[in-house]
Symmetry: C2
Subunit: 646 residues, 2 copies
Amino acid sequence: MATTSVTSGFWRDRLDLNRSVSMPAVLKTFEDTGRVRALTGDLRPGEAPHMFWESDLAKWIEAAFIEVRQQPDAQLLQTAEEIFDKIIANQESDGYLNSYFSAGELENRFTNLRVRHELYCAGHLLEAALAHAQLKGESRFLEAMERYMDFIAAEFGPEPEKRQGYPGHQEIELALTKAYEQTGKAKFLELAHYFIDERGRDPKYFALEDDRLEEQIAGLNVDDRRGRYAEHAAAHSDSHGDRRARWNRDHSYAQAHARPVDQATAEGHSVRALYMYSAMADLARLRDDPEMLAACRTLWRNIVDRRMYVHGGLGSAHIGERFSFDYDLPNDMAYAETCASIALMFFAERLSRIERRSEYADIIERALYNTVLASTSRDGQAFFYDNYLECQPEFLRFQRRRRGVRDEYHSCSCCPPNVLRILADLGRYIFAEVPAGLEVHQFISGSRQLVRDGESITVTQTSDFPWKGKSRLDVHVSAGQRFTIFVRVPDWDPAMSIRVNGERYDYSLDGGYAVIDRDWQDGDRVDLAFDFTPRVVRSNPMVRYDVRRAAVFRGPLLYCLEAQDNFDNLNSIVLPDSATFEEQSDDTLAPGCIVLSAEAVALTSEDAALYTTARPTQKPVTVRFIPYFLWANRGENEMLVWVNQA
Amino acid sequence: MATTSVTSGFWRDRLDLNRSVSMPAVLKTFEDTGRVRALTGDLRPGEAPHMFWESDLAKWIEAAFIEVRQQPDAQLLQTAEEIFDKIIANQESDGYLNSYFSAGELENRFTNLRVRHELYCAGHLLEAALAHAQLKGESRFLEAMERYMDFIAAEFGPEPEKRQGYPGHQEIELALTKAYEQTGKAKFLELAHYFIDERGRDPKYFALEDDRLEEQIAGLNVDDRRGRYAEHAAAHSDSHGDRRARWNRDHSYAQAHARPVDQATAEGHSVRALYMYSAMADLARLRDDPEMLAACRTLWRNIVDRRMYVHGGLGSAHIGERFSFDYDLPNDMAYAETCASIALMFFAERLSRIERRSEYADIIERALYNTVLASTSRDGQAFFYDNYLECQPEFLRFQRRRRGVRDEYHSCSCCPPNVLRILADLGRYIFAEVPAGLEVHQFISGSRQLVRDGESITVTQTSDFPWKGKSRLDVHVSAGQRFTIFVRVPDWDPAMSIRVNGERYDYSLDGGYAVIDRDWQDGDRVDLAFDFTPRVVRSNPMVRYDVRRAAVFRGPLLYCLEAQDNFDNLNSIVLPDSATFEEQSDDTLAPGCIVLSAEAVALTSEDAALYTTARPTQKPVTVRFIPYFLWANRGENEMLVWVNQA
């Protein structure tokens, strides 16, 4: 399979950090907290295994295999394989594979799909095994996972003797479509389709499951019952604070309120939702299902037109880590989980495989450069789970929220290894080979080889993103060839200019991509130039939080204010109606970093009164914006994305 | 003791509703939920008593006794006395009185003061008993409560053989100062002083108590321990959602972080805080303690200059029902518990007894006409616990908050009976007799008798508040007398005009009160005229939530927008810089009600995009404001106090 290597520049540095610092840092937290020792029953006193732990390891292992495929590293490979060997050593003779259940309560396997994440773990393990097979060809891990998938296929399905169930946390569906594409085995696609097709049908599986659990508990003796009630209550607690009483059979939480094909709005837990939509997009493409594609497009529109933060974050409500409702995008109470933006990239990338529409790569760019990039600290060692658009640390403290400082470890560790693997796999998002030629989705330095009509073609991109609005494509062909390069015209610069071998190229558009259709000769060069003038973006006024506020972008990068560059109470700042920005280099913040300054006013009060009929005083100030992805790298302080504007 | 009767007009109607509808409605919820039956051990299967229940009943009983004192009602008196008789029937032979502990765990009395509210209940029962004694002279209830207070005084004190403790929820302190004033018995004042004086000293009592509880649990056998751990964990949960892990010995939650006399900022649970400050003000006055008075003034300034909502609400953080930090006044996440504004009235009224300063009565007016009045539905049957300044029902749903509809019953029922008793006692806030004469604090129709130099004086106020800015005082004297009437000049109308017997009266000011010092003759008449032109109030720009927003007032009444008078997304409305308001009558909303309309613009978007560099469209609209206290009487809908202003 052709892959893209990320060759140089900003992203190469970021990926090196990912590999050399973040990967070992995350693994260390996993080892320290017992995730690896749990696999061999070596937990220490006081440590308790958790049902999600294998998924955390699986994502780390997957990232390792992807990294090694790009750049061999025997030690990294060995570490990952050793952990995976420990995982598959727990496989039951019937193929079932989950060390948490095998260790303590095998009899309860698949009895609480809504909460207990077995199929979610299975999906991540399958993805990791697929990455291993890509690296090695033959893979004992993929063999083990195929046995597990066969076991799952024997357990779940429409046949009366099987369970008519589906995961509480989707993931396995997109892993199965990937397995089908990689192996060509139809059984994987069939199981993926079954899980999506069954979902949301009446009677609701999770309600039946719940009834069975209640009955089971009722049948226990009193002492056992007490324990099981506690466990059931815990099991009914959706992530982070939802109480049992609140579950109340809210099937939308896990997108089981309607058949996926009939869902029109993004509901419930945002990561579950986007993982499911990603699988739906795969199914639409692989099964050529127009109804499924229509549902994907409808869900996409609902997200990007009504439920997505300006930094590409998803999930407005921290309670339940979930979508809320149209235009509800609170900034200081935002959740915007890192994993949800990663999952948005998954969904967008899959849709872009179906149809050429630049919006998909636009959104990938938005999420990648802002939420995903911001989620990791500058030193690569700490991670955000929630990605606020406004941070007042004291306010967050009283709301019992994380206070705007990245943590090295999260007890629920889904996000850090997800960042590891999507960055390891970043090449996937730059180019796409299509029948007519090659699509250039992202302006990231990278090299892609393709073979057309038996001839080898290499397209190498050298990009100055994100600090400068220039990128260049060099085409190397073994013999002159006619094909098309489709270059995304980003939504933020519809007048993007193209030169081919120094000559201005008047392009036509196809799905938002500039079409460069020509006989390519070895050494041809395409220069792309973008307008990186800082621009002010406004929300639809339906977003009550952002009325009369502006977000500042430069190229793909969102900017923000931090108190330490300015002063406390950033909301007292009002940008003029026509704000102008001055660009300055600041290598102390990050190599090559461009910061912005602007003239504004700060509203202050002459007297101490809390309420007055007098107007506030306007004091001229110069304010300094930094790239959003770099915030919170200099200690806890106030931060603001949506700034008041006259 | 001289009292003021509320004679006619808006408040007479409101008080009649309080007595005829709200009092029986609240009692019914108490009876239905077992609060009365619990006293005689007659709870039904599935019902469990709660340690706060006696305080709920006590406030209802106190309200009943105050009502009966103003207007005899044998049935109401009998109902209240019967409940109180059931309460004191549980008194232990040693004087201890708490049916919750007597019924199940007398051995644990006074072992968990931080959480278990025994002394809080004791305080409310003492207040109810004092109201009975005011009504009847002799009172078996006051005798019983005096026995209980003697028992408490024998348990708590600086002597080594006593407990050096104090309540987790203050209340008893202000009840004790009231008992001292009413009975003249110094022991009550001494105990009140002890509880305040001991508070915050090191080592912290609550930490020692916590250690003892941990030790006690550790000494139990395993099965008992499990139960006690659960109970201890529950006991360590501060109200509504604070988990044990979060208590973490945060002594500021119950204002035990420092000695009260050294406290300078309003911290922790807002009701506990304000009850304590009220007792501190009493102690400052009754013990002539300048240090205590200085602390009260400092705390007052912190509250009114930095931590009070524009409607007089206190407590910004719903988690913990507490104060947060300076200028943190979120509108849609506000807590602003009804009880806290009632307690603010307590504190302000006590300070006004120490010094003539119109700000105290200004704040009473603000809280009374807005938060307190708003807390009850128009029909008198349902109550707010939280008092939002912005309501988006769907947002609140996802934040797990009450959705802006008053409830007929709250399982934690502190607020409804607190409203009952403060309205029953409203006369207290209108006038105050002072050595030089009479202060007029509130512009509420009412009549006050006083005796000076053996001569009877009656001052009767007839007010058109809150709908018209006129009020009139009629003075009846048995013989001509020289004395001063001090009339509050409200902060919102420093040019308030006064006519005496039709002649314009040029007044001087004393502490913000117009001084009318003259030889009063029978039949003298004072006319007060206020500017009720709607006015726009702005927050200090340090309040990040209210920057470039306006709150509209007319006289003492705060106004707000509701969606059903306007349209959804009230934040899209922008008032012009110089907004003008047209007044209209709307008797359908409330008899005599004045609503306001103003020309404004609504921001809308031409396209469906969520983010755009384009400016929104400004659509001219006429918007309609209603009095804040009347919101949420026509079903669930959006509401906004702080409206965008150009």
